[in-house]
């Protein structure tokens, strides 16, 4: 059976080594936090200047001065640290984060990422920290559905949307399969409710068995 977004998040969470420093981007990737094992020791980074961010704030915990990159009120865990934006992005761009998890419009077979702009001429461009994260983290995991609502594949020979980063994606976690982007090509690590052959027939990207 194909995975729902929580099940994808669970897959990702299981693959993050204990003690990792991780940035979960904004939107769906933040679900990964809910599936990290208790005691995993994973430390979450938020681009707006904090390490060891805790879960979303509820009720009295809400503090307008304590928000995540998606501007949602969050909490702090013991051992958290605050820093300014240049330090936060130096941390990101300097290759100190072990993992980041990002959403995507498209990922290419070579690991190019498109997740910031639809390319439509009247769309207002807005990039935030996506390009910094894409090139900065040691491992970049993408979390997305494998096909758009109209059935187009999002894992593609080369991206048609404007790029966020070149050759930066390491793994693609989707509802139907988990892909490893390797020097040899795209490896299908797991499939969910679909066979390797059916997957291969629906994608325009050469696939390798694990």
């Amino acid at each position: 059976m194909s995975l729902d977004k929580n099940a994808i998040a669970e897959q990702i969470a299981a693959d993050i080594p204990p003690g990792s420093y991780v940035n979960l981007g904004i939107g769906q990737p933040t679900l990964v936090a809910d599936h990290l094992a208790a005691g995993s020791g994973v430390v979450l980074h938020t681009e707006n200047g904090m390490l060891n961010m805790g879960p979303a704030a509820a009720g009295d915990e809400v503090d307008p001065d304590l928000i995540n990159a998606g501007k949602i009120p969050v909490t702090e865990l013991p051992g958290s640290a605050y820093f300014h934006h240049a330090d936060s992005f130096a941390m990101m761009r300097g290759g100190h984060l072990d993992v980041c998890v990002l959403g995507a419009f498209q990922v290419s077979a070579g690991g190019d990422l498109a997740n910031w702009h639809t390319g439509e001429p009247d769309a207002i461009p807005a990039v935030g920290g996506a390009m910094d994260l894409a090139i900065g983290a040691r491992s970049v995991y993408v979390m997305m559905t494998l096909f758009t609502k109209d059935g187009s594949a999002k894992l593609v020979p080369s991206c048609t949307y404007p790029l966020t980063g070149v050759g930066c994606v390491d793994r693609v976690y989707t509802d139907l399969a988990t892909f490893l982007i390797t020097g040899d090509g795209v490896v299908v690590r797991d499939t969910f409710g679909i066979s390797f052959d059916e997957l291969a027939s629906r994608l325009d990207v050469p696939l390798l068995r694990p």
Binding site: R93, M131, P162
Partner: protein, 219 residues
Amino acid sequence: MTARFFETAGEAVADIRDGSTVLVGGFGMAGMPVQLIDALIAQGAGDLTIVSNNAGNGDTGLAALLAQGRVRKVVCSFPRQTDSWVFDGLYRAGKIELEVVPQGNLAERMRAAGAGIGAFYSPTAVGTPLAEGKETREIDGRTYLLEYPVRGDVALIGAHRCDGLGNLVYRKTARNFGPVMATAAALVVVQVDEIVDTGSLDPEAVVTPSIYVDRVVRI
């Protein structure tokens, strides 16, 4: 020169001139210098370039400044938000310029301005549309883009506490762009929640040393 203390936000921004580049702190509402922006709206300066992470939300603050036609150009990382209708309208009507800058480049370019760096090679945005027109260079097998400093005539920032010299501390993620912008502008105006006695801030925990602070107003 050590910081001067003002009674009102209006006095603290009174001499901002038409055509100024104004760095505005905050990420979302955290650290947003709301009263200083309101004072700038009341003050009347126009033809401004605003450098900030976002391009205004709802109908207040930066959005209100934009709505008054006072802003020629916005330099930011993320102008498109669910409630950024004022910016959206001006942009689609061709009434405002936009320079979209990856958030890390935005922060680093202001740091460069504050640190006397002439330009730097950044790893971000290589091979993307935001690399267009930028000089590239390969260093140790990796490609970089040349990025120049972003400097302000004025910075408007929010902080939590200030001592009598002008040393600042912030609160949680409201710190964000404040400390960087404080280094990057010719005139740094800060609104603070509280003014405390000189000597009562821990010298190990001061985030923005007083050297960067020109004007302070308690809100």
